[in-house]
């Protein structure tokens, strides 16, 4: 029982992170009907930015945790939005109207480029960061097992809830959100109404990247380390979350993220920690086979 509660907490934390990354996949798919294969890296890049900035701040003796976190978030969000913008500009826009495979390949190319660049500048080793936020609240102890809610977990959940609320507001209530949705439904008609569709698409890539950047920073704080493998796997898990929730659906991405986080946490605790990634990939395959439109997605209608 205590273990289950602990895994519930861990699963929700992970799920929040996957959900934030999944939003980027789902929004880009919604607006251009294609998967952004360079999106998974944003998480990895922002994690490395976090490591670098935290280390620099530590050498300058900045000891205020909120200030350090804020600075890291700002740098990571700025840098990765530029990256998101560049991916659209370089890999997707020039190939709009080409076969669907072409932008996919160019996006993977950009992704490989980015991974190598990070590896060259950062080295391939696993990197630790100075402890930023330590400690937590012990909730209860049963038979010597203590259920613990770490401060980082509280932080992750709070930030995620705030971001997702803000984001939902942006999409459902603001002028930009309406333009984003109208582009999803009919890009030509949107342009006929005087809206700059290219700009809306760019902003969508940038927003998705910014959310993934926040996820990357928070996970760095949570685990205290970053490595390539984590970045790669997290990208695929978030992608699975987006597909499970229904690619193109915003609430679906959030729900899918939570489910993947929970499944992973419980699988690791009760079945096999070694093979926890297998759970995610099995889900991806099963969803694609039996319910490609996902839990909340609309059944696929061929775009005209």
């Amino acid at each position: 029982m205590a273990l289950a509660l602990q895994q519930l907490i861990n699963g929700l934390t992970l799920g929040a992170v996957y959900g934030l990354i999944a939003i980027g996949y789902t929004m880009v798919y919604g607006i251009i009907g294609m998967i952004n294969f360079a999106h998974g890296d944003i998480y990895m890049v922002s994690a490395f930015i976090a490591v670098t900035v935290f280390t620099i701040l530590a050498t300058f003796g900045v000891s205020s945790v909120p200030l350090a976190l804020l600075l890291v978030l700002i740098v990571a969000v700025l840098f990765t939005s530029v990256y998101g913008w560049a991916v659209e500009r370089i890999a997707y826009r020039p190939l709009r109207g080409a076969t669907r495979l072409a932008p996919l390949i160019s996006a993977i190319g950009m992704s490989i480029f980015l991974q190598n660049m990070v590896q060259l500048t950062q080295g391939a080793r696993v990197k630790p960061i100075p402890p930023v936020l330590v400690g937590g609240i012990d909730l209860l102890t049963v038979d010597g097992f203590t259920v613990r809610l770490a401060y980082t977990q509280i932080l992750i959940v709070l930030v995620t809830v705030a971001l997702m609320s803000g984001f939902t507001y942006l999409i459902t209530k603001t002028s930009f959100g309406r333009q984003q949705r109208s582009c999803e439904q009919d890009r030509t008609m949107t342009a006929l109404l005087g809206i700059n569709v290219d700009r809306t698409i760019s902003l969508t890539f940038m927003l998705g990247a910014a959310l993934a950047a926040v996820a990357g920073v928070m996970v760095t704080v949570y685990y205290g380390v970053v490595d390539f493998y984590i970045g790669f796997v997290a990208g695929i898990k978030a992608f699975t979350a987006a597909v499970l929730g229904g690619i193109g659906s915003l609430p679906g991405a959030m729900l899918g993220g939570l489910l993947i986080g929970l499944i992973e946490a419980f699988w690791a605790a009760y079945l096999s920690a070694e093979y926890k990634d297998v759970a995610t990939f099995s889900i991806l395959i099963l969803v694609l086979m039996f319910r490609p439109s996902g839990l909340l997605g609309r059944p696929e209608v061929e775009k005209v």
């Binding site: 002028s175 309406r178 333009q179 949705r181 109208s182 439904q185 009919d186 030509t188 008609m189 949107t190 342009a191 006929l192 109404l193 005087g194 809206i195 700059n196 569709v197």
Partner: protein, 243 residues
């Protein structure tokens, strides 16, 4: 001159849809474009917005060459289109659709314009929070027209607004076209298969066949023309066969 197309050609891949079309619309006019199915009427309307872009020729609006401008910039010059098939945003509410139409307008005009549209189309007020996809065809057409008017355009393009609608709605649409023009001085370019109605409301008209203008004149001239009567009025809505 408000709008002038000179020698405009348009292609869809290897399909040559417009063969050097000359069309002019003067300030305050209702000009109609009639022609059989597949003649190139919709292509002409869309090519004004660069969708598809004219492969040769020139399009001038209000003294400015707009041939090469991006689509959204052309709309921003003050041209508004009610496209064939309406193309309302089905998964947005009626109000959101109208907000989309008002993107170019001033913030403060929105409330005033919304009221105007509700007065013109009371059904839209009743349905304002409903998903546009749940409206009937006629209601969607009203919404498409209202959306186009929300930007306060100088030139309104209507592509077969009466297509597939019940007679009551058809009557309403032609009544609105007349009212917008007579009472508000709106310049209108109207594409219709419903040639009879269209020629009666129009000051001038063009007949398009196989991507070429084959006839033009005042509305009443064309109404009286034996060729037009034979091809577009008496035979009703027949489709174009190989000439």
């Amino acid at each position: 001159m408000m709008l002038q197309l000179s020698g405009v050609h348009a292609h869809y891949g290897s399909i040559h849809a417009l063969h050097g079309v000359d069309v002019a619309v003067q300030v305050g006019e209702v000009v109609t474009l009639i022609g059989a199915n597949g003649a190139g009427k919709s292509t002409l309307m869309m090519s004004i917005f660069g969708q598809p872009r004219a492969s040769a020729g020139r399009i001038v609006f209000d003294g400015e060459d707009i041939t090469a401008l991006p689509t959204h910039e052309i709309a921003r010059r003050g041209i508004s289109l009610v496209p064939e098939g309406r193309r309302i945003f089905p998964r947005m509410t009626v109000i959101e659709n109208l907000q989309m139409g008002a993107v170019l307008g001033e913030e403060m005009n929105f409330a005033v314009d919304l009221k105007r549209m509700y007065a013109l189309f009371p059904i839209l007020e009743e349905r304002c929070t409903q998903s546009a996809g749940t409206l009937s065809g006629g209601e969607q057409q009203m919404l498409a027209i209202a959306r186009a008017l929300m930007s306060r355009p100088q030139l309104l393009l209507l592509d077969e607004p009466s297509l597939g609608l019940a007679p009551l709605y058809i009557k309403k649409i032609f009544q609105i076209v007349r009212e917008l023009n007579r009472e508000h001085g709106m310049t209108i370019l109207l594409v219709e298969q419903n040639a009879h109605h269209a020629l009666r409301v129009a000051h001038r008209a063009y007949v398009l066949q196989h991507g070429e203008i084959i006839l033009s004149g005042t509305g009443s001239e064309l109404l009286a023309s034996p060729e037009v009567r034979a091809a577009y009025l008496e035979a009703g809505q027949k489709t174009e066969t190989a000439a």
